[in-house]
């Protein structure tokens, strides 16, 4: 099966998996290959690279994907890319599995399905035989696999990330878009915002937080959050109680909005400082004032600065995005609020070329 045939198959069967893979068409898959490899046919044959110089991309024959976490995004996208490259894919799933990945494999035509093997316990031979190892997980997990891979194996690591948004026009549309980003996939992804920084005074910040709370409720009515295990619900309950107490000592400076009779969503507004706060996820989001001047933002992020995923911005203008990019934050992605959860197929996850990082090149030169 050549690249074109794989593109046809993958584009045909992926609409059902659009929530995790985004919009996939024959055209944008070709564009992805073109962008990553310079030519959509680079995996099939030598393509001109310079005078009397041709190059061919060689995909790993076998890729081991170490998938962790509760969201299927990372694993599905990684597997999808492996199939696009034509590799054989071994997927180590987290304990308990990820049904979406199994469903994706089952939906593949036999020829591609045969290139996917899933396991919750890692067979040792997979690690030894994989030409490329892709690891998603905590630092300790990544280090463990880095140690166990051999010289010559391609190793790609995707560590944990935290994301946030910057709101300069604190309007209703921004609140609606932010609620979507903070709610989709129950805020469990690397691109999920933990916090929104809002430009303006205390009243504006808390006013927008109230608007965000209303939008969180509206979103929850149409797309309810998953039921939580008691330990996860307890984390939210405890955090809410703590912030309710904090708010009592800071009248007009902190406030908590919560879903009624459930832990479905929580918005915590705090204008006392701009220090980054991590959310326990599951639709708990903080709202704080954007530091003034903007150049103070990197310092406000504190340790989170070293683990940034995406930075959302509103208004969604190129100028605003450039203004944030000029801060030189080590985030791999700047995108409009409302789109944080739907990175394009061509995005550089963690700043790496998604296909380019996996292939090696063979050059053919002639006289």
């Amino acid at each position: 099966m050549n690249t074109d045939a794989r593109i046809e198959v993958l584009a045909r069967m992926t609409p059902a998996f659009a929530p995790w893979l985004g919009e996939v068409t024959v055209e944008n898959l070709r564009e992805l290959l073109q962008a990553e490899l310079g030519d959509a046919r680079a995996l099939d044959d030598f393509q001109p690279r310079g005078p009397r110089h041709f190059s061919k991309a060689v995909a790993p024959r076998t890729i081991l994907h170490i998938v962790s976490g509760n969201t299927p995004h990372a694993g599905l996208q990684s597997l999808f890319r492996g199939l696009l490259l034509g590799s054989h894919n071994w997927v180590k799933l987290p304990t308990g599995g990820l049904p979406e990945i199994a469903a994706f494999r089952d939906a593949l035509p036999a020829e591609l399905a045969a290139r996917v093997e899933l396991a919750e316990t890692l067979p040792e031979e997979w690690l030894g035989r994989a030409e490329a190892v892709i690891v998603f997980g905590a630092d300790a997990t990544i280090e463990e696999f880095r140690r166990r891979t051999q010289a010559g194996q391609i190793f790609v690591a995707h560590g944990h990330r935290v994301s946030f948004g910057v709101v300069c026009d604190a309007d209703a549309e921004a609140a609606r878009a932010a609620a979507r980003d903070a709610s989709l996939f129950d805020q469990r992804g690397c691109q999920s915002p933990h916090l929104f920084y809002v430009q303006g005074g205390a009243a504006r910040v808390l006013g927008w937080a109230a608007a965000l709370a209303r939008e969180m409720e509206i979103f929850n009515q149409t797309q309810p959050r998953a039921k939580l295990a008691p330990a996860d619900a307890a984390r939210i309950y405890t955090l809410r109680e703590e912030w309710r107490f904090r708010a009592t000592g800071a009248a007009g400076e902190a406030a908590v909005w919560t879903s009624a009779g459930s832990t479905d969503w929580t918005v915590i507004g705090d204008v006392r400082d701009s220090a980054f706060v991590a959310s326990p996820a599951d639709r708990v989001v903080f709202v704080k004032p954007l530091p003034e001047p903007l150049a103070a933002l990197p310092a406000a992020l504190g340790p989170a600065r070293r683990h940034l995923g995406a930075v959302g911005f509103w208004p969604a203008t190129v100028a605003h995005g450039r203004e944030l990019a000029a801060l030189d934050l080590p985030a791999a992605r700047l995108c409009p609020i409302g789109r944080m959860q739907t990175p394009p197929l061509t995005w550089h996850q963690d700043g790496l070329p998604p296909l380019g990082a996996l292939v090696r090149w063979v050059d053919l030169e002639t006289l």
Binding site: T71, D139, H160, A233, F245, T248, G261, S262, F276, A281
Partner: protein, 366 residues
């Protein structure tokens, strides 16, 4: 003596009197009445608590102890909680371990009268083996003046037969294994059962030291042990079943000879559970509710929720505390303790962010 101090002293005397009473002398109505009285004292005399109560919408008049707003445990890290006394009137302050990354909590005491009465009363209530030689696997209270656990053990040690309270951890925190073995031999020869008291981590270290030697220790028949706390800051995790298996293998103590103490710096009384199957229960001046975190209401029997504790001996701060621990409700006031995060769920990449940031904060210069 000003009115506030007089009020505190009178209430303290009355609570102390009730702590000396037997379980048969306590009725639900009496507990509720005294709880309302303590609440009525604490709310106006403890400003942060008063503000919190206002935010919950609960007024001064309540019908039942269950309606008393439970102060979030984190509040002890965020402000000073004193009811009926000020900083100058503080006799003692205990500190939490501060392992969660946001500094330590502080519990201030005007006097330790109720605190110590609750410790001893609890042991009396549960007929725990207090009046025998004690081997304490913990630092001496003089070496840990801010540790409520050390003070509790010191209070218990005072009740041991004279000269038979043996502190087995040095001032620099080293477990004196040779000393433990020597004491075991001494009391074995005398045929006198002892009481071992310590943190789960200290017992684990003792078992591991014995395992390294390859020889278990034999304590006199009838010896019992009280273990408490978890493995905070040690990076160790062990289930209760695993720990008790080590007790049996290396200390020769069956699960029935071990009881767990559940207490916290923010409270004055303790809850106990013997062996592996028994749930935790508190003395008659305490109550425990398991709260459904989704609804904030009391969880049904058999359900898992957040533990809310009521302790009449906690007169100088707040009598109702919202803990961060999970427990299974039994519907009769007892509970099976599950701890902070018993399920160790697999987490999405965002889910581990708090741990990730906490770890980074500890090492980052920024």
């Amino acid at each position: 003596m000003d009115a506030e101090t007089r009020c505190y002293a009178e209430l303290e005397a009355r609570v102390a009197d009730r702590l000396a009473a037997t379980a048969a002398d306590w009725s639900e109505a009496e507990f509720s009445a005294l709880a309302r009285e303590v609440f009525a004292f604490q709310r106006p005399h403890n400003a942060p608590y008063a503000r919190y109560c206002e935010s919950t919408g609960v007024g001064l008049e309540i019908g039942d102890w269950r309606e008393i707003p439970a102060m979030p445990q984190a509040a002890f890290k965020l402000c000073a909680l004193r009811a009926g006394f000020d900083a100058a009137g503080t006799a003692r302050t205990f500190r939490t371990s501060g392992t969660t990354g946001e500094g330590f909590g502080q519990h201030h005491f005007k006097t330790l009268r109720l605190y110590e009465a609750a410790i001893l009363g609890g042991w009396r209530h549960f007929s725990l083996p207090i009046d025998r030689p004690q081997l304490l696997l913990a630092p001496h209270p003089d070496d840990a003046p801010h540790s409520s656990l050390a003070h509790m053990l010191g209070t218990l040690a005072r009740v041991a037969p004279a000269g038979e309270q043996h502190w087995c951890v040095s001032a620099d925190g080293k477990l004196e294994v040779e000393w433990v073995l020597a004491l075991a031999g001494r009391y074995r020869e005398a045929g006198r059962p002892v009481l071992l008291l310590g943190t789960a981590l200290a017992f684990l270290h003792l078992c591991e030291a014995l395992e390294k030697r390859g020889t278990p220790v034999t304590f006199p028949t009838g010896t019992e042990a009280m273990e408490t706390g978890g493995y905070k800051g040690s990076g160790r995790t062990l289930t209760k079943r695993e720990l008790y298996a080590r007790f049996e293998r290396w200390l020769g103590l069956p699960a029935e000879a071990i009881f767990n103490e559940y207490g916290m710096t923010e409270l004055s009384s303790q809850w106990y559970a013997r062996g592996l199957a028994q749930p935790h229960a508190g003395p008659p001046w305490t109550r425990a509710l398991v709260i459904d975190p989704e609804t904030g209401r009391e969880a049904a029997a058999g359900a898992v929720g957040v533990l809310r504790l009521f302790d009449l001996a906690n007169l100088g701060s707040v009598l109702a505390l919202g803990t961060q621990d999970l427990a299974e409700a039994h519907g009769d006031g007892t509970f099976t303790l599950l701890g902070r995060d018993p399920q160790a769920l697999p987490r999405g990449c965002s889910r581990a962010a708090d741990e990730l940031l906490a770890a980074t904060a500890a090492t980052s210069p920024t």
